[in-house]
């Protein structure tokens, strides 16, 4: 493996977003939930802007709008007033409160404020149907947006999940996947005859139809009662190799209620999906329904047909860890050669996971880079001469400078249309990605050839 480029102290062209943004995304996947940032209003405005540019959907995030005075004396009064105003206007069933760098730096005790709020405004809360208030600590100076995402899901589960009754459903924690992927995931679960609570579930909330009307809080999302019942479910399934073994919602349920936990990689590519389907077969007690077996068969068929276009092609993958691991797995199984995999975050699992999905197929493992920015990636990449880049929109400049095509996957995608409707998981997602990869490489050939490739 190659030595890494000299590491700079400053960050140039970051490859990660900040922690509370992830928390807001996760809260958006709960029915009747409004995300609320405790801090100055600027953070909420910026995060809304970014999330909206990817999804092209409304995304409301409230803020306690702290000013200089509250930065000095504490943000309690603003938080309480903010919550009241929010409840008056939105009538939420739950408010997901995430902290920001400002409130973390001044050491605001957000959960204490919330407890006080519940005591001080008992009647008011009763009037509004006693909405749940969940807090999560998300200082961006430790960790990035995916950590914020997982932390929010974890807080929700820790606070709400009970095991008062046994329910015949499973819990599924998919991590950050697209609304299209979430819909498809629910379809798969239903095809296996499994009742499931998917948390978060952004399938409708961040991809809603044109309505000729507007819902303050978009319909859809994981239902509160289902979340409350999670402790009595049959089992939990959790996606994401990067988080295995750490504090996760599945682990909380395991420890609190001794509920079986199945951890799997985010099912991107055939092999990771096979592993997920094995879990589903076990949980449901039925073999994979024919519809999906056929989808798998067609996928393999296309791997065979498309092999000649992709074999040995060198790829660079960057972005959020679990997407990167999944895409790497897909590329390797189709005969491609990931030469560099990079992420702006870090996890003790990342390198192992990459080596795990490569081993047995790839002779030489790709360069693995954690906690990097695009400047690092750019300096590393030159000697590797990749044929393809895969990652979010922020690699656009790199792609242009190097004259190497970029396939947009992950978040944020704001220079292509429909990033949030893209399938990445399961056999269907693998098919979509594989077609995209093959066609991108073919087009490259066609465009740069004088002979012309009319048939290929």
């Amino acid at each position: 493996m190659k030595a890494l480029a000299e590491h700079f102290v400053s960050t140039t062209n970051s490859c990660k977003l900040c922690k509370p943004l992830g928390a807001c995304l996760a809260f958006r996947g709960i029915e009747g939930c409004v995300p609320f940032l405790h801090g100055s209003q600027g953070c909420a405005t910026y995060m809304r802007r970014y999330i909206i540019s990817h999804f092209r959907e409304p995304m409301d995030i409230a803020s306690s709008s702290l000013g200089e005075k509250s930065a000095i004396y504490g943000g309690g009064p603003n938080l309480k007033l903010g919550l009241r105003n929010l409840m008056n206007k939105y009538n939420p069933q739950i408010v997901g409160i995430a902290t920001t760098c400002l409130t973390e730096t001044i050491g605001d005790d957000t959960s204490r404020y919330v407890t006080e709020f519940c005591q001080e405004f008992e009647e008011f809360l009763n009037f509004h149907g006693r909405p749940e208030l969940v807090t999560v600590s998300t200082p961006s100076y430790s960790g990035s947006y995916m950590e914020g995402f997982h932390a929010a899901v974890e807080s929700v589960v820790a606070k709400l999940a009970k095991n008062e009754a046994v329910v015949d459903s499973v819990n599924l924690f998919p991590g950050f996947i697209s609304p299209a992927d979430t819909r498809y995931l629910k379809e798969i679960l239903a095809d296996f005859g499994l009742k499931a609570t998917v948390l978060p579930d952004i399938s409708e909330t961040l991809d809603a139809p044109a309505l000729a009307g507007y819902e303050k809080i978009p319909a859809g999302g994981a239902r509160l009662n289902d979340i409350r019942a999670m402790g009595g479910a049959l089992a939990s399934v959790e996606f994401g190799r990067s988080i295995i073994g750490s504090h996760t919602p599945g682990n909380i349920l395991l420890q609190k209620f001794h509920q079986p936990l199945y951890s799997s990689g985010t099912p991107i590519g055939l092999q990771e999906t096979d592993r997920f389907f094995e879990i589903l077969e076990k949980l449901s007690g039925i073999p994979t329904p024919e519809k999906h077996a056929l989808e798998r068969g067609r996928l393999v068929d296309s791997y065979i047909d498309g092999h000649k276009y992709v074999f040995g092609q060198k790829a660079v993958i960057y972005g959020e860890m679990d997407i990167v691991i999944g895409i790497t797995s897909l590329l390797v199984e189709t005969g491609m050669k990931p030469v560099l995999v990079a992420t702006g975050s870090s996890s003790k699992n990342f390198r192992n996971a990459i080596e795990d999905v490569c081993s047995g197929i790839l002779e030489e493992f790709p360069v693995v880079m954690e906690d990097v920015d695009f400047f690092d990636i750019a300096s590393e990449i030159k000697s590797l001469e990749p044929n393809l880049l895969l990652g979010n929109s922020k690699g656009h400049r790199l792609s242009k400078e190097m004259d190497v095509p970029l396939i947009r996957v992950g978040f944020p995608i704001h220079d292509r249309f429909g990033g949030h409707r893209q399938f990445s998981i399961g056999y269907r997602g693998a098919q979509n990605l594989f077609d995209l990869i093959v066609n991108t490489l073919i087009q490259r050939k066609q465009d740069s050839s004088d002979i012309g490739y009319g048939y290929i």
Binding site: N13, K16, L17, C18, I52, S65, R84, S140, Y214
Partner: protein, 542 residues
């Protein structure tokens, strides 16, 4: 067709709407909001409250002080490296999001596509981030050798007590590259506005008037202030000025180069486009160097012509005036010709504008040209003078928030001050409101129009439901919410990735885009046939 202002008066009383929309707030909040929502009536310009803190929990369009400083005023300077000192988010979110364009000068330097951050970590917050900042500046200097470096503080920085001014001084000395630090922590002030002011101050102190080599001899030399070259606006404006033989030394700060800003004091006139974000600079340059300023509006064909005529009037040179008239005649003919087709389809439609600190005013003129009417408008972070005109300035009481933003007093620069026109004439022109004056948005609005400051999400919803505009101009944060109602929304911050919209040709682009937007066939397809008519049922034959 949606109601025009006249119909609105018949259909429902605006006052009633205001009562309804504020009634859902708790009493205290309602009382506050009532001061931000006013109705214009004939011959009377209502007083409006503005530039006060947004109420917590109310979803606002506003950003923070850092956004106004780094994002708006300083960020667009293209040959300067901008380092954001703080955790990663603030820096990432201001990375190329505003679409301000820059054309590299001879040295080829262009850092606009970069996003530099110190990406503060736990330990920096605990032990201080100055060391990391020093290193970041050193690295930027070593790798890029830029002409200047800016440092922008985000929220945590001020709280942990990093002295970024001291670091900037030290590193300027050490590297020989000018390092300017901006204490624009997001919690300062009430919106972007405080950040504009901080940016103006430091830019004036460190950059403007610092280069006297190669004195500029031309007579018709100007600066354009408060034009940010979104979608290439500044270039289209420049084209018209160049045609007239008027030279622009520097634009603040769209397509700005630090070297040009250093020479900006040599201009004979400043034109102010966005009054809110840059009026401080105009005043400071007038006091220090004697450069008068005129408020202009380059949006709309007539707006552009009027602005050019103002410049001609100021220079009062028959040859220039003739040239300007000739350019106007040519350009107007061409633009109107192209707009005609669109305005035929747009006539009688209504618009609402909620954006920024000047655009909600500027675009009204263009809508009028398209035959459309602006029924409701408001700014996101403007002050009272932007609404009511500068004559209210003496009445604006500073509050705790505005006092936090430093106000610098600028004296005459002994070596560089030079009266541009005779003192008497200057006074005359000031008195008639031609120089150094801005009348604000409200006086130009129609009887019955509503004005809403710092509109909230919830208020916007009610407005749309009640008054059904044909288009709402706003930003990306409201766009998709508005469109869920079946009403098209035009982003006037980034132009929906289109543009330019300023100047003669910009007006044509705007007309085309609004036409395309309002007359998009998809709006009619939102309701499925079975929602409109009952589904046919098969008859059972006996």
């Amino acid at each position: 067709m949606s109601p025009t202002i006249r119909d609105m008066n018949n259909i429902m009383d605006q006052e009633e709407f205001i009562r309804d929309v504020t009634s859902v707030y708790p009493n205290k909040v309602a009382k506050k909001r009532l001061k931000h929502i006013v109705v214009k009536s004939e011959g009377e310009n209502p007083e409006i409250e503005a530039n006060v803190r947004t109420i917590p929990g109310i979803i606002t369009q506003r950003g923070c002080c850092y956004a106004g400083c780094k994002g708006v005023v300083i960020g667009p300077i293209g040959d300067m490296v901008h380092i954001v000192h703080g955790p990663i988010g603030c820096s990432f979110y201001a990375w190329n999001t505003r679409r301000n364009m820059f054309r590299p000068r001879e040295d080829g330097a262009n850092y606009l596509n970069y996003c530099f951050s110190t990406d503060m970590q736990d330990s920096d917050v605990i032990f201080g981030g100055e060391k990391k900042l020093r290193q970041a500046i050193q690295e930027a200097h070593d790798i890029f050798k830029p002409k200047a470096i800016s440092v922008h503080a985000t929220c945590p920085v001020g709280l942990i007590g990093d002295d970024i001014q001291a670091v900037a001084r030290e590193m300027t000395e050490k590297t020989g590259t000018l390092v300017i630090a901006f204490n624009c922590e997001g919690y300062k002030g009430v919106s972007q506005s405080g950040g504009h002011h901080i940016a103006n101050n430091k830019l004036f102190e460190n950059v403007v008037g610092k280069d006297d080599s190669n004195p500029i001899q031309d007579k018709f030399v100007i600066n354009i202030l408060g034009e940010y070259n979104i979608g290439g606006d500044a270039w289209e404006i420049e084209r018209a000025f160049a045609k007239c033989g008027i030279r622009i030394i520097s634009t603040f700060s769209g397509d700005a180069s630090i070297d040009e800003m250093r020479r900006a004091h040599q201009a004979n006139l400043n034109l102010v486009m966005c009054h809110r974000s840059i009026n401080y600079m105009a005043e400071m340059m007038e006091n220090a160097f004697g450069i008068p300023w005129i408020k202009v509006n380059f949006i709309g064909v007539k707006g552009m012509s009027k602005s050019l005529r103002k410049v001609a009037k100021y220079f009062d040179d028959p040859e220039l005036t003739q040239k300007v008239e000739q350019v106007i005649a040519e350009e107007e003919a061409e633009a109107y010709n192209l707009i005609a087709d669109h305005s035929d389809r747009l006539r009688g439609k209504t618009a609402m504008l909620f954006v920024g600190g000047s655009r909600a005013h500027h675009y009204q003129e263009l809508f009028t040209e398209l035959g459309m009417e602006t029924t409701v408008a408001g700014f996101e972070f403007a002050h009272r003078d932007d609404y009511e005109g500068r004559h209210v300035l003496p009445d604006v009481k500073p509050d705790a928030d505005s006092r936090n933003i430093e106000e610098i007093r600028v004296e005459q620069d002994e070596n560089r001050f030079r009266p541009r026109i005779p003192v008497e004439q200057m006074k005359e022109l000031q008195k008639e409101g031609f120089l150094g004056s801005y009348e604000g948005m409200i006086p130009e609005m129609k009887h019955g129009a509503m004005i809403i400051d710092d509109i909230s999400h919830a208020e916007l919803e009610q407005l749309i439901l009640r008054f059904k505009p044909d288009v709402v101009c706003s930003g990306i944060k409201d766009k998709y919410m508005i469109e869920k109602f079946g009403v098209p929304s035009k982003q006037l911050h980034n132009y929906d990735y289109s543009g330019p919209y300023a100047g003669f040709r910009g007006a044509v682009n705007f007309a085309r885009d609004i036409d395309m937007m309002i007359n998009n066939p998809a709006w009619k397809m939102i309701k499925a046939p079975w929602d409109i008519e009952p589904v046919l049922r098969a008859e059972t034959v006996a």
